[in-house]
């Protein structure tokens, strides 16, 4: 056994890493606070947020309003934007001192960058990309539910003897908790000892698109290779239905639409009320991203397409005339 950094009986509390951008918490951080609140209450333990950044006071208050009992804030100009070394070094120092029992992080690119590094620094186990979290009956250990093999297989993973038990969770898995401005909690600033020399990454340029968030859309109209480069009808239908545009990986790889729209294993997991899936074959790596939709409508010219196995309403036809007719129908019946 690789010896743990600290023993299970020294460990206390459920912690959530609060990823932020410009002082505002990321959606997945709020989702984790919502789930964390429920998990902490079930065992009568405290829910603590770990917030690193520069000028993040508002984010700390946001965390309290979304369910944190306590927020540990580490502020330093060197923490303003994420770099592996700065965030790992500061998080590890705080964690080794405070010894949380559990640490949850969002499975965003930077959340995973940090989690993978931190888990090895702390010599502990990490359950990556969870689609569900629960306490194991009897032991109180964290059970992380994960999918493997493109979504075909599920497993539950636990970490028995090492602490913190770490897990990353994908955005959009847990609902956004309501904000309660009256919820009370303690904000604690901790001293940061971080030197520029510790950081081996220099950020040269950073581009964030205004960006859609398909994880919260209640209607998604998705296009794949079958749209042949033309997202026009898909986009028009999405707009008519008050929804967002989704896409298969292939459509994104071909540059027809931005990565923010990608559904699936390496994209986003969505749970809309209605998903219209147009010109997408339905590979498991795609389908894991829509399997929890309320209603799945598939439009595909190939009657053998696997997507029809997983759809409620199936239309075997060329997607272009079908979308055109549907758009006309919706416009005609518009009040």
């Amino acid at each position: 056994m690789i010896p743990p950094a600290y023993a299970p009986d020294e460990a206390r509390g459920l912690w959530v890493f609060l990823e932020q951008e410009g002082g505002q918490l990321e959606g997945v951080a709020l989702e984790l606070l919502g789930k964390g609140r429920e998990l902490a209450r079930a065992r009568g333990i405290l829910l603590t947020g770990l917030l690193l950044g520069h000028g993040v006071e508002a984010g700390a208050r946001q965390a309290i309003a979304h369910g944190a009992d306590h927020v540990v804030v580490a502020e330093d100009p060197l923490l303003a934007a994420y770099t592996t070394d700065a965030y790992t070094n500061v998080s590890a120092r705080i964690i080794l001192e405070r010894k949380p029992e559990t640490l949850l992080l969002g499975a965003t690119p930077n959340g995973r960058d940090l989690a993978g590094r931190l888990a090895v620094r702390l010599r502990t186990g990490l359950t990556a990309d969870c689609t569900g979290l629960a306490w194991e009956e009897g032991t109180g250990l964290l059970l992380g539910e994960v999918t493997g093999f493109g979504g075909g297989v599920m497993a539950s993973i636990k970490c028995a003897r090492h602490r913190p038990q770490m897990a990353t969770v994908r955005p959009g898995i847990f609902p956004l908790p309501p904000s309660d401005p009256d919820h009370a909690g303690r904000i604690e600033s901790v001293a940061v000892s971080l030197e520029a020399g510790e950081i081996r990454t220099q950020i040269l340029e950073r581009v964030r698109h205004a960006g859609v968030d398909i994880t919260r859309a209640s209607v998604i109209v998705a296009g794949g290779r079958g749209v042949k480069g033309d997202f026009g009808p898909v986009t028009e239908l999405a707009r008519l239905l008050g929804g967002e545009v989704g896409a298969s990986r292939v459509a994104c790889d071909l540059g027809w639409i931005g990565r923010d729209h990608q559904i699936g294993q390496t994209g986003f997991v969505t749970r809309p009320k209605v998903a219209l899936v147009c010109g997408i074959s339905g590979a498991t790596q795609f389908s894991v991203g829509v399997k929890d939709a309320g209603l799945i409508v598939a439009i595909n010219s190939d009657p053998e397409a696997p997507i029809f196995e997983e759809a409620d309403v199936c239309v075997v036809d060329d997607l272009f005339p079908v979308l055109e007719a549907l758009i006309a129908e919706l416009k005609r019946r518009r009040p």
């Binding site: 592996t84 059970l143 993973i157 636990k158 340029e205 950073r206 209607v219 790889d253 309403v313 239309v315």
Partner: protein, 263 residues
């Protein structure tokens, strides 16, 4: 500029669509599944070969897995890699990310001269992109995950364009570094039949070749354990096929949608 010593970590994985769960034992049935090189690792190999063409140097492949992985490493050699190393021992089996990244880091150190380690963004058989950051930590070097493009800067640092949530960033990191490469960022080249014929043999190392404590390897060295395994089941779907003219289909579609959303 000095030539680059590049090591690419590649994993041989079962084809995801061919793996199933044995309902009685609730364990994975991999026996029937054919294997392949993990797709993003192919992009990492291509990236390494392109960097070697641009800056000179060498490309070594490193994998941890059962002996049957060796022929898949031959594929990478036939694409143009210079050497291939396979870490293979029963003691490595059942490893989660902590001992996997540890063994790979020790393998990298044993290979010796290196500036850059490239990995795929994630392995398709369950783990999810945590090994590259783990390797970087064991080696105490800089890291750039989810990279789309790499180049050397005049000052010798590595310039990496990488994905962030809702965008991208360009960073400069000092070498040595560990980088994970995004799936699909390039077109992996085909095997060269001449290289296939002349490629060197795969070097195989076991746990004692790495000189590490067996307790930090494989199942024994893994903090996490799998509690249960089951086949993913999507909610039952109605599979109602719509018939009729386009207009009739459109009308039915509109009805089904309106039942759930107002707009």
């Amino acid at each position: 500029m000095k030539p680059l010593g590049i090591i690419v970590c590649v994993k041989v994985v079962p084809k995801p669509e061919e793996v199933s769960v044995n309902p009685e034992t609730r364990t994975l049935d991999r026996a029937k599944a054919r294997s392949e090189l993990n797709p993003p690792d192919m992009n990492a190999i291509e990236m390494a070969l392109a960097l070697r063409e641009r800056y000179g140097g060498s490309v070594s492949l490193l994998s941890m897995g059962p002996p049957f992985a060796a022929p898949y490493l031959q594929v990478g050699l036939a694409m143009g890699a210079d050497h291939a190393y396979l870490l293979s021992d029963r003691l490595f089996g059942g490893a989660d990310t902590l001992p996997t990244s540890f063994a790979l880091a020790r393998g990298i150190q044993k290979i010796g001269e290196w500036d850059l380690v490239l990995c795929g963004e994630e392995s398709s058989d369950g783990a999810t992109g945590q090994v590259p950051a783990g390797i970087a930590e064991w080696l105490d070097c800089s890291q750039a995950t989810y990279a789309m493009d790499l180049a050397l800067l005049p000052d010798g640092r590595l310039r990496a364009e990488r994905e962030i949530r809702g965008g991208h960033e360009v960073i400069a990191v000092s070498l040595p570094a560990v980088v994970s490469v995004k799936l699909g960022v390039n077109e992996p080249r085909f095997m060269d039949m001449e290289l296939r014929r002349t490629a060197p043999a795969v070097t195989v190392w076991n746990a004692s070749d790495l000189g590490v404590d067996p307790a930090s390897l494989g199942f024994e060295g893994s903090p996490t354990v799998v509690g249960a395994v089951w086949q993913a089941k999507s909610p039952e779907r109605r599979r109602e096929f719509l018939d009729g003219t386009l207009q009739e289909k459109a009308r039915l579609l509109a009805e089904r949608i309106r039942a759930l959303v107002s707009f």
